[in-house]
Every structure is written in C-alpha cells, then in structure tokens.
Symmetry: C2
Subunit: 236 residues, 2 copies
DNA sequence: CGCCAACTTGATGGCTGTCAAGTCAGGTGG
DNA sequence: CCACCTGACTTGACAGCCATCAAGTTGGCG
C-alpha cells in the first residue's frame, strides 16, 4: 500500500477511487486491493504519462500534480480535451479499443497511482462497489465532456474563459485549496486550445476581466475578486 | 426475450450489447439475462425518451429509429450533443448522479429495449463479459465526445459539415444501409446545434458541396458522390 | 547578463452570425 | 382536388467577433 505520508493522504482523500484505496472497505477487501494500487509513478513537467496509440493496460489516479490530455490531427492542429488534477482519473479512454486515444502530459512534477485495468475487472467481481464506482467515474466524464461541448458550441470567448475560471475555482476548492487564488499550470495557448480560442483571444479576455476588476492576473497567478460576476457571465 | 422478428434481428445484430441479448452466451447465462431486456418501448417522432433532471433507472438500446440528445442553458441556448441510431446505447450519462443529464428525443418513430441499470450491475457479477462490454461502450462514448470537441474547437464550418456527413455515412454503412445515400432525420438547425453553427451556415455549406458536385441535396435526402473528397476536407 | 518562450497589445481581415426576404414541402380543411 | 398555412429551408446583404499578423514586453532560466 502507499505509505500514509502527507502527500498521499491529501491526494487520496479526494480521489475518485478513495473507497478503493483506504475507505469503506473491510480488512479482507483491503487484502484484495493491496496489490492493485501498490505501484506508483512520478513524472516531471513535460513527461508523457501515455501517448495516443500506445497500448492500454492501466488507468491512473493522480496523487499530486497537474495534467492535460490532448488529441492531434494530421495537419498539426491539436485540441486539449481536459485538464486533470489530484484525485482525477486518467486513461479511461483506452478501454474502448485497448489503445490510448489521447496524450496525457504532466504540466508540473506529478505523481500517479497505477491501477491495472485487468485487476479492476477481476476484483470488481468480488467487490460490488468498485464496479459501480468505475461506472460513475466514466459517466461523470461523459457528462463533463458534454458540458465542454456546450461551451465550445454555444459560448463566446469571454463566456468560455469565465466558465473555465469558475470550473477551476470549484475544483481547487473541492480539494481544499483556495477557490479565489491559484496558479495556472497551463499556458495561454493550452487554455485557448481547450476553449477553442487562440492564445491572443485568451490574453485579451484576461485583460478585460482585470480591467473590470473581476480578477487580478499576474502572469500565471490568478486572483478572483468577483466569482459571482464570472458565474453570471457564463449563464448570461 | 424479444421476438425474433425482422426488426429486432437487424437492430440487435449491430447493438452494442448484442452479446447480451442473443449471442455468445450459454443457455444458463441467457436465463439470467432474459428478464433484463424483456421490456421494450415505442416512441413517436418528437417523444422524449427521458428528460434532463429526471430520475435515472435504465439505459436504453435503440432497436429502430433515430434520436438526438441535447442539453439546455438557462437562457434558452441548446447544444445537441449527439445523434443516435439503432444499436446505440442511450442513458449512460445518468449513472454519474442518478439523474439524466440531458434530453433524449426521438426524431422519428422509434423502438428501444429498456435495460434496468440495477440489473446490469447485478448480472455483471455473474457474467464477466457484460461488465467489460459496458465499460467499452462508455469508453467509446468518451472517445467520440472528445472527437466532437476537436471538431468544435478546431474546425471551420465546411470541415465540420464534411466530418458530420462522413461520420453519418460510416455509421449507416456499419448498419447495412447505403453509405452514400440516406435521409437526414434532423433539421438544419439540429445539425447546426451539434456542429456549433447556425442553420444558415449549415445550409450554405450544403449548397457549396452541391455546387462542387460532391453531394446531391434534396431537402433531407442526401446523396454522396465523392466521399473521398469529403474525407480529405476533414483532414485538410 | 542574455536568451527564449510566454505573454500582451494593436491593426486588419475574414468567417460566420444576424437580419431579412423569399421559396419549398407537407399537411389540413373546405 | 385545391387553396391555404406553417415550418423548414435557401439565399442575399451586412456586421461583428475572433483569427491573423505583427511588434513589443515580461519573466524564467542557463
């Protein structure tokens, strides 16, 4: 099992599979699970956790750090499909074809738990809740992707950026970090790719939000002064 | 079990859960599954299969017909998140929160198999492959949504429509229908909503494709004369 | 200190949205 | 059977948002 150090505790407490690692399980169930999540991996900023087209074997639970996933078109265009932080699960896209369908890249030094997929399927036969939890995680991912489609299909630039900031704020908050002050791990270009905008447009929207006094931007450091206002922009 | 009429055979042969209904299972396994998929439902054009916010109990396998799923914003903006045809599964978005997160609407008279979710989880404990199949279906949905995000985030109007037509052609073909001639069940507005475009833009793109001789459009009837060309537009 | 990537800001243009008018198809009722 | 009506669609003119191109600034890192 992971050593109960500070790092793993903060990470696991909010992990989508926390029931799997340390909570809600009997001693006997724990015995089944031990070998499943005992392996971990550390990545440096810029490292690939996996690449599109590579063989799928495991899914990953982020213990610490920050990732992006993206897909490429032949002509070089890319789409960032999501940003993942501690507690999030990576790699579920690989189940469909036994191949990873996107790249997963660490945006800062990170640490993940490696969870062999075959092990999950096997143990799910014994531990009912694990299967349900996996289904929920995947379903949640579908719901979130649909929301991103709504953003890309119907919103304008400033609405998209506001939605992005509100979403980040909420996720940081859920993990015990400040909801109004945080560091962006990604570049303007990566934000733009995720939001279907060019980096210049992202930069201009940041500037406008700052002019209005809703946020303070200093490079990658963000301070949100008026979260309500940002939320109202999204709904507008 | 469903009566082995022509309708159900054509539908089930391509169903994502065909292994569940009639193939690859022992007689004993079949006994477990019988009660699961024995209920069906017919819908008329315009009927809701389920609505966003309603309680989640079952997923649905389309036996015949055509559906759209969409989500709404408070201000009335909507995003069509997908079109589903026979063999496709509807309702997986509801697992996350035990509530459906989108609307599912029949675009023509349709028929679905009702598959209670609790039953799936229960039987998955006995039939290993069912769980894996469900995971694959959900993973495939994630991969497809990511592809739609790529479309919405990086492609221009004509590229989007070309990708849409190529995708439809492929899916009709997989189901034994013509890959180059078919009827659109949805309106221009619904196509536009799915592609993040206005209906006028969709109409103009259709007209241009026809001027170029790549397709013939007559109302909702589509004939593809040059599929290769459409495919090349997507990649361009 | 110097270099380079990341970022900001300005000017311009183009794609697509918006508004508007007209056409077409399908269904209803006389 | 036909007039009518409504929703869906097409086409044109124009405008606005964002992409593109360009130049300059900042910050991080060797």
């Amino acid at each position: 099992m992971p050593q109960p150090d500070t790092l793993s505790q903060t990470a696991c407490a909010h992990c989508s599979f926390n029931a799997l690692c340390r909570f809600s399980l009997s001693a006997e169930e724990m015995l089944h699970l031990e070998p499943l999540v005992s392996h971990q991996k550390t990545l440096k900023k810029g490292d690939f956790l996996y690449r599109a087209g590579s063989a799928f074997q495991s899914i990953y639970a982020i213990r610490a750090g920050f990732f992006k996933t993206d897909i490429l078109l032949e002509d070089g265009r890319t789409q960032v499909t999501g940003f993942q932080m501690e507690g999030d699960i990576l790699g579920l896209d690989g189940i469909a074809a036994n191949l990873h369908s996107c790249n997963a890249v660490a945006l800062e030094n990170s640490e993940v738990c490696i969870i062999p997929y075959s092990g999950i399927e096997r143990i799910s036969q014994k531990i009912y809740s694990l299967q349900h939890q996996l289904n929920q995680v995947m379903s949640r991912e579908i719901v979130e992707d649909r929301h991103t489609m709504l953003l890309l299909g119907t919103m304008r630039a400033e609405e998209r950026l506001a939605a992005f900031l509100v979403n980040l704020s909420k996720r940081f908050s859920e993990r015990g970090f400040s909801s109004c002050e945080f560091h962006l791990k990604m570049t303007r270009e990566e934000i733009g790719s995720f939001l279907g905008l060019k980096l210049e447009t992202v930069s201009r929207a940041f500037s406008r939000f700052q002019e209005e006094g809703w946020i303070c931007v200093q490079n990658k450091h963000i301070k949100i002064n008026n979260l309500k206002k940002l939320e109202s922009i999204v709904q507008a």
